[in-house]
Symmetry: C2
Subunit: 489 residues, 2 copies
């Protein structure tokens, strides 16, 4: 039953949908483009959120909460930002329903309850937050403001996919205010680093750090820093962005401060966010044709113990002893006490759910004082002495975490291809896929033409790009460094 998923080779997109469904992560809802995040999917999000929240607090940020709605007049104040999001806004126009006189038992909008000003459901919160910050900031002593918000946002996307692109999604959005340009840039970079560390250390997902070209920037930003990951089908995933917003929002909302010399200046801003999209990235970085593969640091259940063939009291007792030992090390453990399903069925289910380590404990094992340890990443099985199983599993979880990163990085590195002609460019994009490292003349026109002809976009200008004289693959004009192209989610 759990085995019935489409293979990646057969249909990658269907494979992804099958995992989302069969691992119990999410499902479509009655609302167009909105998903239900099911308990197992939400448990992964909780692990991500708790770790990120810890990292935000360690870097000096506190959480707060701003309204879901943005009055239209505030929404449109920062013109570029408004233009960027206007086409995908859910808009509240009324605040009451009433009985429909023509259809008993049905409701209709009460035309008398039309709002004087429409309310936009936040697609992002710069507008409402900077309108608030105006009252919080008078002097340089009120700066910096380092606030993060965990919230839901709505962007009315036409084509949606669970986690990767949904009309409503959960995210965090940091919004900081600074006295100087340098300090704001440092903040944007610091959070960019936090995202990269989180992606690589916790998600075991290697990322390229870079900044976006002007046409790919966040609407309203002066610079957008991004982390770009590579999925197993050779497409890129923008996994997190951190924006240096300059004084754009301060000017739009008239947020000034008096500096140490008593002069009035506009405030400098950043914003940065990651979302439930990361779960999509997690799935597509590690999983295989048997189901989800989770890095131990983000697995809601790290170890499952399955007494075989049927749980009896001696087996359960031993399982509990092992579970207690693991739990005392902070490892999350489930003991499977279900007597109605066969071991083979259970094993397939736990593989589908991506539980990193499975311990199978049979009567013969108990007699021989051993236990079977199966790791999800390589599917290797080993027989281990019962007296060492707890420290063995502790180490194994670390090994799995590391192995997943190494494996994903090897795949990613193999799929960064340097090309020096447009022919080569097109061939790599069409056949091998992945990241293409190429010279570009720096103009939006060329970027646009390459996108039209190949569907590949500039994912980022890598922070570590080395200075190198070259020629644009498309126009032949001079270029000083390579940028990273790919087809992307």
């Amino acid at each position: 039953m759990a085995k019935e998923i489409t293979s990646r080779a057969e249909n990658y997109s269907q494979w992804y949908n099958d995992i989302v469904k069969k691992a119990g992560l999410a499902e479509n809802s009655a609302v167009r483009g909105c998903m239900v995040i099911k308990p197992y999917g939400y448990a992964i999000w909780e692990k991500m959120r708790d770790q990120l929240d810890k990292m935000f607090k360690e870097t000096g940020h506190t959480n707060a909460y701003f309204p879901l709605f943005v009055p239209k007049s505030l929404f449109e104040a920062e013109e570029k930002n408004a233009e960027g999001f206007a086409k995908e806004c859910a808009v509240v126009t009324h605040y009451r329903l009433k009985n429909n006189p023509d259809q008993p038992g049905k409701l209709m909008i009460d035309p008398d309850a039309k709002l004087e000003e429409e309310l936009v459901v936040r697609p992002t919160s710069e507008a409402i937050i900077w309108n608030t910050y105006r009252d919080w900031i008078q002097s340089y002593r009120d700066l910096p403001i380092l606030i993060n918000q965990w919230a839901n946002v709505v962007r009315w996307e036409m084509r949606t996919r669970p986690f990767l692109r949904t009309a409503e999604f959960l995210w965090q959005e940091g919004h900081t205010a600074h006295a100087t340009r340098d300090e704001a840039i440092s903040e944007a970079r610091k959070m960019h680093d936090v995202y990269a560390v989180f992606a690589e250390t916790f998600m075991a997902m290697p990322v390229i750090k870079g900044f976006k070209t002007e046409s790919e920037r966040f609407a309203g930003a002066d610079d957008t820093y991004t982390i770009e990951a590579l999925m197993q089908d050779g497409k890129a995933l923008q996994a997190g962005t951190s924006h240096f917003l300059g004084q754009n929002f301060a000017k739009a909302f008239n947020v000034t401060f008096s500096n140490e010399n008593n002069e009035n200046e506009f405030v400098w801003a950043t914003s940065w966010g990651v979302s439930t999209r990361l779960i999509g990235g997690l799935i597509m970085t590690h999983s295989d044709d048997d189901g989800l593969v989770l890095p131990p640091k983000l697995a809601p259940i790290q170890v499952v113990i399955v007494p075989i063939p049927k749980p009896d009291s001696a087996l359960i007792e031993k399982a509990e002893e092992i579970a207690d030992g693991l739990k005392s090390l902070g490892i999350s453990v489930k003991i499977d006490r279900d007597e109605t399903k066969r071991p083979g069925f259970k094993f397939a289910e736990y593989e589908m759910q991506g539980i990193p380590v499975r311990l199978g404990l049979g009567k013969r094992d108990l007699e021989q004082n051993t236990i079977e340890v199966a790791r999800r990443d390589t599917k290797a099985k080993m027989s281990i002495g019962l007296e060492v199983v707890v420290p063995y599993v502790e180490q194994l979880l670390e090994d799995i975490q590391q192995n997943l990163y190494i494996r994903a990085k090897a795949y990613r590195d193999e799929h960064i291809t340097e090309v020096n002609s447009f022919e080569e460019f097109k061939e790599v994009i069409e056949t091998k896929g992945g990241f293409v490292s190429a010279h570009w003349d720096g103009t939006p026109e060329t970027e646009e033409k390459i996108k039209e002809e190949t569907k590949a976009t500039i994912r980022c200008i890598p922070l570590n790009a080395k200075e190198e004289a070259g020629k644009c693959v498309y126009t032949g004009k001079p270029s000083t460094k390579r940028v990273i192209f790919a087809k992307a989610y």
Copy 2:
């Protein structure tokens, strides 16, 4: 500066607003009826949320996330629920804005982007959740479902107050599905107990446990269990409710299961919720004319150490040593290193913020090997030997927690008045306030008349009400137990 709040005696309502503002808990936003929850207020909510989440998980629940929007056709399916919330719904009618041709730089609703079906911003999630549960439940083996959601909801209230009543608020809503009526009732009662334990043990806020009369029930519930707290102005606050929903939502959404005898039955339901309103209750239970008073278990900062008059290295070193000692016991500590403000100003600020324990460390203290310990609840100050300050503070935090509860309970108990005539009833409600315990004939008509004449409502029929023959204070008709009336928030 921090002292400038209105006294409770002068204007209770203004006193409340002053604390919300001056303690930095929340403020009004540009969106009618929606508040901004500021970092300090949000930190209190995080403490509440984390503790409640732990209690929900310990009682077998998991978290999930359902869409913000409810299509109108689903919203109206359970008629009583729909009727109860229809008058306060924010409704999304369009999914796009466009440039306003008449006003350059301004946006307008794109009339071409009208939704075929309006979307209600959830005021509560029974409809969207039970529409989802239909697909999750086939057999008794799929039951129970024990899910909780942390979310924002919107109810378009006409008169709003920070935390107590806002158009958007944060809450949790549990939604469970069961095979039998008895099991659902047990679940509703269990979560009612969880709320009461949370209120009394963590918020130090005594509550009366009872159930609601038919007219005060949640729209769509067969029974609503409530915890009712008493504020310092003699008004009641409904602090949390747990609903036995019968089969109402199962019938509205056609959610059935086959039982062990292979017969089809409708599923039994509960829902239960508490919200950021609890912060309002916390403020009004303990605070005084100097500002907020927080129970240590929910205080974001439990201890503040203030070196006096100015921090120097010897004082800071000692402060850090004490802080480390406290932190190792899991106590949250702030050291005030600010050299720009006077101690008197700082003390007033920390009193305003309700920090349970303040340690003042001066040079003379250091010479004498003592430290000044000030407790926020009683404002008592003591000089304590430095060598015992850490265990002393640990014990003191427990004493403060307990003292706040005892104090609030004494006030509450003094304000439960048994009355036996309507004259007495009116006099107590008008002068003394608080809970009035009186006989009632059990009819909605009498309940309504008493409400019209006195503004007092039946807060609950206490679970522990003793059987007692009596006469309704309003009609003189026979009654078997007393119920609790009060004016309420």
